[in-house]
Symmetry: C2
Subunit: 348 residues, 2 copies
């Protein structure tokens, strides 16, 4: 494999939100160095973030975001890794891979280092099967197929928009679970990729995530979190709920499972609880809202879907808390900013 050209080298950006020097890239060097990085620097813009030599990157701090988006910069979170979605917006590539800076290369059960990016690309480049469950999981992997009883008309599948990877070591638990199980580590390597069925929501984690920006990019808004907001750690969840509803509506697929990364350090559960407690409360209303959400036939593009969804958020979740009115407005601003930076071309 070392001799082969890196897949999608010129069609994929790696987006990394960070507040520190990117030493973690050293371990990823064999896999990431051929690709272009978009680094979104959170927090104090006067701080200098060191990037190891040899990586090709562009870096945006808060001043850059404010300069590029002007008043629309209000839709990009500050002091929260939700700011990463700015990187999705300024990318000009078809695919995005985003990873947290506390995520390292994991090993498979044979001890081999896992090229997470390569697996994400595999996931994105083959179809999804959201309309019927295949009990042997991903039918397109080597040695797998559709099982008896799988309708032939559904075997072509649908385009894959999202590839959601998992984590060995520190599992992605909420603060209450972290508090109750401080020592729990994920040691189970589950050798599977599967499509999340149509109509089913899932908790999308932004730590190790890839997507097709052309297919679903404008839905990957990570919301208003962090500084000045009553909530944190729901940025990726929000994006996941919106994305899944829109993928289901547009006939796109979402996969989860492989690849694993090694998640090195558990965040502080007390800090997390403070960030999360509103979300823990609100998600009991948010999830039924998204489970019931339907989009109209006129919503034929991601942007149109997203604007329609934002109106429903304002109307229905606005009753839960005024925060959702603000969030709904930010969703609209996000789309305006997206379209400004990504003007429609005739080719599309």
């Amino acid at each position: 494999m070392a001799a082969a050209a890196p897949p999608l080298k010129d069609e994929l950006d790696i987006v990394i939100p960070t507040i520190r020097n990117l030493d973690f890239l050293e371990m990823w060097r064999p896999f990431f160095q051929p690709y272009h990085l978009i680094i979104v620097q959170d927090g104090d813009p006067s701080k200098t973030i060191k990037v190891p030599d040899g990586f090709d990157y562009e870096l945006y701090n808060r001043n850059d975001i404010n300069r590029i988006l002007g008043p629309k910069a209000s839709c990009i979170s500050f002091k929260d890794s939700a700011c990463r979605c700015f990187g999705y917006m300024v990318s000009k590539k078809k695919y995005i891979f985003t990873i947290d800076d506390d995520c390292f290369v994991a090993k498979d059960p044979s001890g081999k280092q896992i090229n997470a990016l390569e697996q994400h690309i595999k996931n994105l480049l083959c179809p999804s099967t959201p309309l019927f469950f295949n009990t042997l999981y991903e039918p397109f992997r080597d040695g797998s197929d559709f099982v008896r009883g799988y309708p032939f008309s559904l075997r072509e599948g649908v385009p894959t928009a999202v590839s959601h990877g998992l984590w060995l070591n520190i599992p992605d638990y909420d603060a209450p679970t972290q508090l109750v199980k401080p020592l729990e580590r994920n040691t189970k390597y589950v050798d599977a990729v599967l499509t999340i069925p149509k109509g089913t929501l899932f908790p999308m984690c932004g730590m190790n995530l890839a997507f097709d920006r052309d297919l679903i990019g404008p839905a990957m808004y990570f919301g208003l979190m962090g500084d000045g907001q009553p909530i944190g750690r729901y940025d990726d969840m929000w994006a996941g709920w919106c994305t899944k509803v829109i993928c289901d509506h547009l006939g796109l697929g979402v996969k989860t499972g492989l690849p694993y990364i090694w998640h090195s350090k558990a965040s502080n559960p007390f800090v997390n609880l403070k960030k999360e407690y509103n979300g823990i409360f609100w998600q009991e209303e948010i999830i039924p809202f998204f489970q019931a959400a339907t989009l109209s036939k006129d919503s034929t593009t991601v942007q149109k879907c997203y604007i329609e969804l934002s109106k429903q958020v304002k109307e229905k979740l606005g009753k839960v808390d005024p925060y959702f009115v603000k969030l709904a407005d930010a969703m609209e601003t996000w789309i305006q900013a997206w379209d400004e930076l990504n003007p429609p071309t005739k080719a599309k």
Copy 2:
């Protein structure tokens, strides 16, 4: 573990349909011997089926079925492993495990023999989570839990009605796939159990299957297959579609994944194609039918659900082929026979 009493020893029957001597039980002896077996002998009733010494069993051949059910025996298939569902009906236990006689003990990646029955019991005795997908799969396994963003109100789950196990070695492929990939073997041990989400259908295979008879038994009818019928190898599929629709309606869960068994021999793809070709054609209409099927609020028991479904089968699938009219009638007969052999008790 060897010292512990076998779980559910007096509450579970193992149902085995067969046409041959049950030598395969030798390999299962350490795991099955404490349990009671119900053997359903298919084909020539004058043939003697040898059961290895030391197993506790009852055996029914076609004469027995005819004697016990009288005219209602018409709902039990002949010359097809679909006849196994007779065993579900005569059992008086709460749980059923059914296995094919070409299925042997598989090994996990560490080389340890897998006690399939024990894993099925674990699956059945802990809740299912059909309303939201957990990305770390079964949250109730050791070392696993619900991930961040999983609504707390849904973490209790729902009772598990079905545990669908998988197969190493010969995968459960249809005839066309067998023909195209004669050498494909399943070597991938996926260390996962997961709940099939509400609203999602799956191809349920009867080779390695357990269920809670009290919760879902009357829906586990394996249809009219084999002798005198225009279709075979859709018995378990039919049961799976009906069961899933009814589980979704009644708020019950269906799990798939572990345990694996070792499936030893591929059936003849040419023979299979002859059995399957109508099913391959019809499933393109059957699956949309089941995907759209809804049951009324009055259908509060499995029996009522099943009768309601049978009427819908007659009305909607009867147009596809007259076979489905006959099948719908057999579904009703099945429920009558079930209720005759399992009269409602005050305790239930």
